[in-house]
Symmetry: C6
Subunit: 276 residues, 6 copies
Amino acid sequence: MTQTRARADAGNPLAGFKVGREPYFRAIGNEVELYEAAYRTRMPVMLKGPTGCGKTRFVEHMAWKLNRPLITISCHEDMTASDLVGRYLLDAGGTVWHDGPLTLAVRHGAICYLDEIVEARQDTTVVIHSLTDDRRMLPLEKKNEVVQAHPDFQIVISYNPGYQSVLKDLKESTKQRFGAIGFSYPSPEIEAEIVMREAGVDRRAADTLVCIAKRSRNLKGQGLDEGASTRMLINAGLLIAGGIPIAEACQVAMVVPITDDPDLRDALTGAIAACI
Amino acid sequence: MTQTRARADAGNPLAGFKVGREPYFRAIGNEVELYEAAYRTRMPVMLKGPTGCGKTRFVEHMAWKLNRPLITISCHEDMTASDLVGRYLLDAGGTVWHDGPLTLAVRHGAICYLDEIVEARQDTTVVIHSLTDDRRMLPLEKKNEVVQAHPDFQIVISYNPGYQSVLKDLKESTKQRFGAIGFSYPSPEIEAEIVMREAGVDRRAADTLVCIAKRSRNLKGQGLDEGASTRMLINAGLLIAGGIPIAEACQVAMVVPITDDPDLRDALTGAIAACI
Amino acid sequence: MTQTRARADAGNPLAGFKVGREPYFRAIGNEVELYEAAYRTRMPVMLKGPTGCGKTRFVEHMAWKLNRPLITISCHEDMTASDLVGRYLLDAGGTVWHDGPLTLAVRHGAICYLDEIVEARQDTTVVIHSLTDDRRMLPLEKKNEVVQAHPDFQIVISYNPGYQSVLKDLKESTKQRFGAIGFSYPSPEIEAEIVMREAGVDRRAADTLVCIAKRSRNLKGQGLDEGASTRMLINAGLLIAGGIPIAEACQVAMVVPITDDPDLRDALTGAIAACI
Amino acid sequence: MTQTRARADAGNPLAGFKVGREPYFRAIGNEVELYEAAYRTRMPVMLKGPTGCGKTRFVEHMAWKLNRPLITISCHEDMTASDLVGRYLLDAGGTVWHDGPLTLAVRHGAICYLDEIVEARQDTTVVIHSLTDDRRMLPLEKKNEVVQAHPDFQIVISYNPGYQSVLKDLKESTKQRFGAIGFSYPSPEIEAEIVMREAGVDRRAADTLVCIAKRSRNLKGQGLDEGASTRMLINAGLLIAGGIPIAEACQVAMVVPITDDPDLRDALTGAIAACI
Amino acid sequence: MTQTRARADAGNPLAGFKVGREPYFRAIGNEVELYEAAYRTRMPVMLKGPTGCGKTRFVEHMAWKLNRPLITISCHEDMTASDLVGRYLLDAGGTVWHDGPLTLAVRHGAICYLDEIVEARQDTTVVIHSLTDDRRMLPLEKKNEVVQAHPDFQIVISYNPGYQSVLKDLKESTKQRFGAIGFSYPSPEIEAEIVMREAGVDRRAADTLVCIAKRSRNLKGQGLDEGASTRMLINAGLLIAGGIPIAEACQVAMVVPITDDPDLRDALTGAIAACI
Amino acid sequence: MTQTRARADAGNPLAGFKVGREPYFRAIGNEVELYEAAYRTRMPVMLKGPTGCGKTRFVEHMAWKLNRPLITISCHEDMTASDLVGRYLLDAGGTVWHDGPLTLAVRHGAICYLDEIVEARQDTTVVIHSLTDDRRMLPLEKKNEVVQAHPDFQIVISYNPGYQSVLKDLKESTKQRFGAIGFSYPSPEIEAEIVMREAGVDRRAADTLVCIAKRSRNLKGQGLDEGASTRMLINAGLLIAGGIPIAEACQVAMVVPITDDPDLRDALTGAIAACI
């Protein structure tokens, strides 16, 4: 559990956004090199992949590696452009402008990570357009100010291909502005290593959990929207480390949260029994 | 009727949220042990089960047992992220930030119980994402502050499988963050015990009510959305203890509130007659 | 016409909500006893029945009988939780909290009557959940205050079964919290008695009006959403007492307001002719 | 053109709402007597009838005859309950409550005319419920004040049967609270009399216009939503009195405004030619 | 390019709205006489016709001719009644009422031109009802003030028959309040005259453009929503006068803006080639 | 990367909007001459063409060439007329009017570029109507001020024909006000030249990328919404210049961002292999 974030102090507005300790990240391919090449030209980056496979962890790791502050914004459908860019607030002496998190990153040079940007309303996507071409500027229309991006500023977004629909997708003209790096579940070997490290269980328990995960992922499309993520294996591992029997821990972390369908529950329970 | 809640005083902002007296809870399985194991690693917990089977009572009981303050938030579709996180209010000297109930829990270390979170708008669900992975932080975007969760903080949500629809369900990426504990109606023996204790009726009346409940639950899916809950049995018991004849008390507490269909009313009336 | 309500004075915030004179109510069954039993345990009560059959009058009568202040709230689809619970208003010295009508009732011990609660948005229904189980508390989330209900507080709602649709109905988990008392049109004998008393007409005119009402109610489902209510009979009676001929009074009070369909108008006119 | 309205002065808040000069109204049936009987018991009144047949003029006439101030509110779908009831406004010393037009009428005893109330949102309709039964009170929920209606207060609404749809209609429980008076086009004799008086044309021109109106009304349902109203005849008459030839005046006032369909225009032009 | 408008000064609130120089208008029929007759009785006027045929120019011309100030309001679907009527604004000493443009016209006697009123929300249309019958008054509901219209005030609206749909049309009860004047494209002779004067091209170029316009208008309904308007001919003429070859000028002004369909582009290009 | 924009200083409100250094633009046809002719008469201009083909760069280039300030506004569906025109803000001494970006351009004489105006709500489109005919004025309705456009002011909009739908398109009456200049992808020769200059790669790499782009564009309509834009070629080039192998760079910049369909990914991968 990292304790590295704190309130931004007045001296350096990004002081609270430095990633203090190295976040654990286990690379699968050349994602680190690709990201570094993109960052050198400050190319906007899109991280693509399913739920719980480590996209957020990766960007935290890269911000730590490049020693840049990281501002993460979880997008949602009620988020407005003002939530990103800033707004006027009423103070003792009248209205005062407060930079939003995106403006803060643009002005002072952070990596700005817009998590699941496709969830946000269109005004959010449009706001980043002038930041993702060679203009690299952010117009604050309500202030009649144009902020030229700090040389260190970069924009990163995440995108889960399984979630998009016709109604909710990025526009072509937005997608074309990004270099994209794909993510997927790690190999069994690497995944077991991650579970051991994160949950504090031994090799045997980790292998069992990875075995169950594999079978769960095979059920995807047969009633299950997504198979068990690495995150769920870690949750199961934490319960096991806390003394809960493995079958029960798997029920709590990998079965009950994701389905109420009796047949699927049976199939998942069978997968657990087969791997233990 | 517990009288344990009062206005939060200035000294300890969570003082008003301690559960003062032990709330009565009759365990059915190992739900207490599972919850304790989850709380030890501060794993987010999802309580799953039908209406009126004791999920809210359980979390009150656990908060009392673990001696942690409990902040309960009933979610609804007009709830916004600001209702959870906080907002600026205008004071004599300008705008002042007021922590919302979630921020209060995160900052000072309460158990935060989001009841029927699936009813809320998506921005609410997204707000908890960074609190339910290893970051355990809450970004207050309007303040440019990042609150690192207090070590005692834990998040608990309730989820009624019978209510979800395609339009209104938690996203896969949200579900996978939780360990889940299932709840269902207690055994006849235990349920009668609960009714006797809560309504103040004798064994015979309690057994009769449990008998009616069983028949009512068998009608589920045959026009009835859900059968009689333990809460309804207690309501009937209270009327009986207040001098209302048992058949009439059952009509008021277990028939008239849930259906206007003549056939279903007949079926339920028949069930009552058969058990008395 | 009762003249008993006046502005709440500062001394007792509920002073203006006492029902000063006995409202006329003619019981049909044991509804008074059932309500008294429910009130003794402060059980939430649902009054069920068609338009204009006396639900509002009944709750006014019971509040008078039990000598409790009554706060009535007519729900509608633009009503928000804040309208019920309260909000911050800007005063000379900054924002000041104002209790809404529900909070007023909870804090000081009134009967709170939510008329046609199903019309309100879901946040309204959710707000009452913690008031309708053994917690009996109202969280004021915007204030971070939890109000424990006054021992005299009780919640009453009305529900018209004919109005509900799939889109607009109380949730199972809300319905199960209430004891329900059913209302319907009174017997001809009692209804004539009510019309004589309320409209000031003689027995013969009252009997004629009740005769027309009966025929009108038989047309329900044949183009008419609901038959004539007791309220409409009283309106017709008032016009008769004011010198308007009975046939014309019935047109004004019982035909023209509810239908523009020529066939239905003919049928209703025929019913009037048959009873005079 | 009446010049009787002026800004409400501070002394009598309804001073500006008295109808100063007798508005011309030509009764067709016993509508005046019915209204007077309804007003004696302060029964809520619904005026039913097609566009431009004199409903507004009637209520102005009755207010003048009964010597009561008249507050007219044109309802529309963006009207809120606050627009009717009142709201807090910010003043030098903080927020101050301002009565809305309905509250003004209720408090000081005007006739309140809600024109086309069915256009308003449901909260508007619900607001009038407690004013249209024997409670005759208006709860100002935002103020926690209950206003008992002034003895002279009466509510009047208009309702155009041709406009209602399933989506937009008054609820049964609203309709049943009103006595209803029907309006339709006057007889040719009376209509010509009205046109002569209002437009200042001679008998012959008036008869011609009424002849055209009759033919136009026969086209209703054959492509035309409504036939020519008395108001349109007066408009044509005014142009004729201003020197425009009759055929051209009829085109401007009775054809071009209501249809762009060539066949209907031909039919209407033929009707004009046939009557001149 | 008229330079006649400036900020309203404090002395005469309508000073900035006088039309200073005669706007060029070439009458086609008796529209000027009809308008003058309507203005004499202050009859509300509706100008009907397709895009770019001179409705706005006509009302500017008439305002100049009658020497009345002109307030033009371009309606749109986000326009509210408050945008027309006025609102309270917060000033140093509290809230102060600011008349909207419609109220300004009503109070001080301007012609108020609501351009494409059908685009506005219904509350806008309803606001003008009491101004378009013999009451000629504007209720400012938020102020409890009734403004009696200045004797010079008149209301004018524009209406494009080609744009209306079932969802978006004026209500019958609104249409019937207006005298309507129809507009269409001028004859070739007159249109060439207009183009010469407005674009500064010679007769030959003007005739060519009018020839192209005629062919373009024949394509209406065959994939083209509307043919070339007089305004487009003037645009083409301006480019020709600026040295662009005629075929290219016609592409820029008359083809590329209105269609991307290859076949239609070919047809229009053929029309250009045929006329040059 | 241009560094030419800075905060507007108080002396000249448009000082921050001058384009300081010549933006690189490679003309394909006579677009520069057409624009200059349009600007001479201040004709409103519409730039039409697909994503990433250089419309924004063109208007930046022309503003630099004509030495006029440029205010760019990225439109989106939550943009309101107030965002363009301005609003009242609360200051120490009450409300103060702040010009929006459009008003700023109109008042002081900038070129105002509304990027993808079709995304905005209709009120935005209507606001520009009086600026795009011979009135050249902007009514600030909330201020009762009419701003006559500065002689240097011009309006430019962009329009992507591939994005329009029935629900979201400019109205005929808007389109007809503009002269339109069409844009498309440059010829292979010119495109390679642009990629070399912008990404810093050699001729061979540039030719390879242009070869891939051509094949990608042929897939348009076969599952791909749009082919690779010039912008994407530059992104790939930047990665190549940063040391990433060409096949991998093309995956990151030209495949992964735009499709998740396995067949399309194969087709694009084949296109890359064929060109290298």
